[in-house]
Each structure stands twice: as C-alpha cells, then as structure tokens.
Amino acid sequence: MKLNNYGEGIAKGMAVTMKNAMRRPITTQYPEQKLNVSRRTRGNQLVWNKDACIACSMCAKACPVSCIDMVTSRDENKKLKMDKMDVDSGLCISCGLCVEACPQKCLFMDSAYEKARYSRKDLKLTKEDILMTEKSKPSGYYSPENAAKLPIQTLLIDRK
C-alpha cells in the first residue's frame, strides 16, 4: 500500500528544511572577515620582475587578446631592452598564457584582488605600475616558490 499520496512527501521535505535551518549559516561578512584565496590564483594584474627580463616579448606574442603593448629596441651592446610595456588590465582575461610562455620566469600573476578603479583609463598600467617590489604579492601560478609563501586557501569543506 503506497502511502505517499496524502502529504507524506511534503512532510519529509519540511523536516529537511527545518534541519537545515538549525545549521550555522555559511555567510562571510565581507569587509570584516576575509577568506584566503587560492595560492595559485590568477588575479587580474601582473607582477614583473625587471631584473630577470630579457625583453624577448614572448609574453606579448602569447596573449590571445593582445593586451600587452610592448616596444623593444637594441642598445649599444646589441642587447634587447624594454622601452614600453603597457598592460591593459581591463582587456586582460586572466588566462595566464603569458606567465606560461616566459622563458626566464620573470612574469607572475598578482594575488591581491581589491583592485577596483573609478575610471577605465586607470586600468591601463605602465611598466612602473607592475614592477615587482617588496609589497607586491605574486601568486603561485606556474611558480611553486611563490606558492609556498602564501597562506593556505580556506576551503568550505573544512568549515563545519
């Protein structure tokens, strides 16, 4: 005798909802509590290590949307040097192909994510803006030594 015609299914469903209402909510109150992003996050700006760069422009060739605007020239010793490197971070799609293509491993993605600006012109970055300093936090995408320096990602599965 099947007994699920008179409302038993609805009653079971309401028991599930009540059980879930007793759980701790999984909301994070944003500016007061921040979660750690992944160690390999592909943020939306680049970090450039100028000393190791040989200006081979492989990163500009690898970009699918051509957002790295690069002008190089040869100086007196016939070595390549960088004249202009403008990254339009509004156009960048954060794919990471430039980081992968660099032979000297001098280009990284940035792991800080609070980078909003008030106007679109401010998103075009020159080579001074993306220079690597002590304060910049390069992410571990394609570079395990950077990944080891960042804090461990907070996972929802670990939260009770």
């Binding site: 008179y6 609805i10 469903g13 309401m14 599930v16 909802t17 209402a21 909510p25 999984i26 909301t27």
Partner: protein, 375 residues
C-alpha cells in the same frame, strides 16, 4: 450604541488619561483607537516583512539582511525610503483612473478586517456580533483591486495574471466559508470574542480537518506559496503589479503582507484560542500565537514549489469542497445528537475521522494529463 461603547479597548481601562472634560466621549475614543490600531497594523506588516526575510535566510543557511542598523532592523526603513522616492510611471495606453484607484481598492478592505479582531477579553475596536461573516465578506473585496490593476495596465502578462486571480480567489472562498461554519456550530455565536471565550479546548483539536481546510484555503486567498502563481516570477514576471512603481507598488506589497498578518490573526482567534493562556498578559499570548502561525507560513513557502492553475482549481473543487461539506455534516451531527459528552471524546473521534478521510480522498484525487490537442 451602549454595546458599542462598552466594548472599547480595554474593559478595565480607566479613562483618566484623557482630561475629564474631554468632549464627546465615544467619538474621540473611537478616533484615537482607530489611529492606534492603524499604526499597529503598519508596524506589524513591516515587521513581518523583516521577519520573513531573516527567517527565510536561516532556512536557506544564510543570514538575512543584517547590515543596516543593529541586526538589520532598519532594513524596512531603507526599503520604504527607496520605494517612496522612485518615479511614478504610468503606461501610455493605460486606463488612468483605474490604474490610480487599484492599489487603494486592494489595500483598504484588508485593513478593515482588523476592526473585529479581539486582542484581549472584549478588546476589539468594535465587537460586532456578526464578526466572522463581516470578515469573510470584506476580504473578498480586495480581489477587485487586483483585477483592476491587471486590466488597466495594458499588458498581456498582467491580464493573464488577473484572470488567474479571479479564478483562484473566488474558488477558494467556498471551502473557507464552510470551514468557518463548523466553528460557529461549536461556539454558538458569530462574534469573534464569543468564539474565543467558548474555547475551553482550542478548536484545532476539536476540528482538525476544518483547520486544515481553512489553512489551505487561506493560503490560497493571500496568494502565498504553494498557490502564488499570480506573481510567479518564472512565468508572468510579477503578475498584476508589473506596471506599478513607487508608492502604488508599495501599497500592493504592503497589502500582501497585511493580509498575511490578518490571516494569522484570524487563525489564532478561531482555532488556537485567541488571547487565552496561563501566566502572561493576554495581548502577549495573542502576539506569540500570531508569530507562530506566520512561522509555519514561511516554512511552507521555503520548501514547496508552486502548483499550476488547473491543479489549483482541481484542488479546490474536487478535494477541499467535499471535505468541507463532510466536515460540516459531521460537526452538525455531533452538536445535535451528542451535546453532553465530554469534549475529549469528540477530539479523538474527529482526529481519527480526519485522518481516514484525508487518506481516502487523496487516493482517489487525480489531475488530468496535460497535453491538449490543438483544435
């Protein structure tokens, strides 16, 4: 006139807070208490909006709004300010007078229900001796407002929604009224205060099937899930208030929540024993019971999907109406032939009968299949 004067809120209220030479005692009392009642209704409706958002959030494992003010208590204030400063747009080909009057026609009858609800012993605004009939009559007027809104908006979505409103609300009036008559048979009086006073055992135990019928019919009257296909966001985006903005939309929105308050108050009065309770003051018991009923309404909203219009109509006419008639028959037999036995035996009899009938009826209740051949 004397009866009306005696029932003004509350009985043991010393009129000393008014100056002794206050002129025209009855009418001034009436105006003051109308204003107090109106403020109470608006505050309860707004509080219910806030409570619904928080409780619905907890059912969905998230916190509701908690940014504005401590615990988000000023969220309704922010919502009200936002809605009041929006531009009032009237469509070009709309019927201007009906478009203007529809929110008022939808809102005013709902407020008028509160005139007969007793908050304490004898403490209603006017204790009419036809209380429950007045409520059923007045609450059917607000559907005219919704149809006016749907027709005058010159929009096909609103028209589809208005047609659905008429069908649904009118069909569910009948089981509603029949379930109420069962209560009246037990209590012996139509006045709301009299019904509360006659409840030695709360009527939810004496009439379980009547409670179920009344609860479902009331959910359909106030257009809440699972019967909320009038403002089904998925299909007819926002239904009859699709062309309203600004304060007219605020009136529709408030009307919906005020109806929810009204239904909770009526269910408390009729079935749960109104203001009766042991230690706390009666007004507090009333409010606790109203919030409990509203909690169950929110719980149902957060769990169930919505029904389709032909299933809603089938449910009213093929399931609720026969059960309401059988309920009336059984209640009548019990009142006429067994007036002297203890009420607890009637409780057990009614609960068993309700379970058997619901089971039998749901086995035989089927909706038709759905594909209709194109003519």
């Amino acid at each position: 006139m004397a009866t009306l004067g005696r029932s003004i809120f509350p009985l043991n209220f010393h009129p000393a807070i008014l100056p002794p030479d206050w002129p025209a005692g009855f009418w001034s009392h009436m105006i003051i208490f109308v204003v107090i009642l109106f403020v109470f209704i608006i505050i309860m409706a707004v509080a219910f909006i806030y409570i619904e958002r928080r409780v619905l959030g907890r059912f969905q494992i998230r916190i509701g709004p908690n940014r504005i003010g401590p615990f988000g208590l000023f969220q309704p204030v922010a919502d009200t300010i936002k809605i009041l400063i929006k531009e009032d747009i009237v469509p070009l080909n709309a019927d201007k007078i009906m478009h203007l009057l529809a929110p008022a026609v939808a809102f005013i009858p709902v407020v008028m229900i509160f005139a007969v609800i007793p908050f304490q012993n004898g403490a209603a605004l006017v204790d009419l001796n036809i209380g429950i009939v007045y409520i059923v009559a007045v609450s059917s007027v607000s559907v005219v407002g919704m149809v006016m809104a749907g027709w005058s908006s010159n929009n096909k979505y609103a028209l589809v929604s208005a047609m659905r409103v008429i069908a649904q609300v009118v069909s569910y009036e009948i089981p509603l009224a029949l379930a109420v008559i069962g209560i009246v048979l037990f209590a012996g009086t139509l006045s709301m205060n009299g019904i509360v006073q006659a409840q030695n055992i709360p009527y939810i135990l004496l009439q379980p099937m009547g409670f179920l019928i009344y609860f479902l019919a009331a959910l359909a009257e106030i257009n809440r899930t699972p019967f909320d296909l009038l403002e089904a966001e998925g299909e007819i985006v926002a239904g009859y208030n699709i062309e309203y903005s600004g304060i007219k939309f605020a009136l529709f929105f408030l009307a919906e929540y005020t109806e929810a308050v009204a239904i909770s108050a009526i269910i408390t009065t009729l079935y749960l024993g109104g203001w009766k309770g042991p230690f706390l003051p009666p007004v507090l018991w009333f409010l606790i019971k109203v919030f409990a009923v509203f909690f169950v309404i929110i719980w149902i909203r957060s769990t169930l999907p919505r029904l389709r219009i032909d299933q809603v109509m089938g449910f009213a006419w093929k399931f609720l109406l026969p059960l309401a008639l059988i309920n009336l028959l059984v209640t009548g037999i019990q009142v006429v032939f067994l007036p002297d036995i203890s009420q607890w035996i009637i409780v057990v009899m009614n609960i068993v009968l309700a379970a058997v009938l619901v089971f039998l009826f749901s086995r035989s209740f089927r909706t038709r299949g759905d594909k209709i051949e194109a003519q």
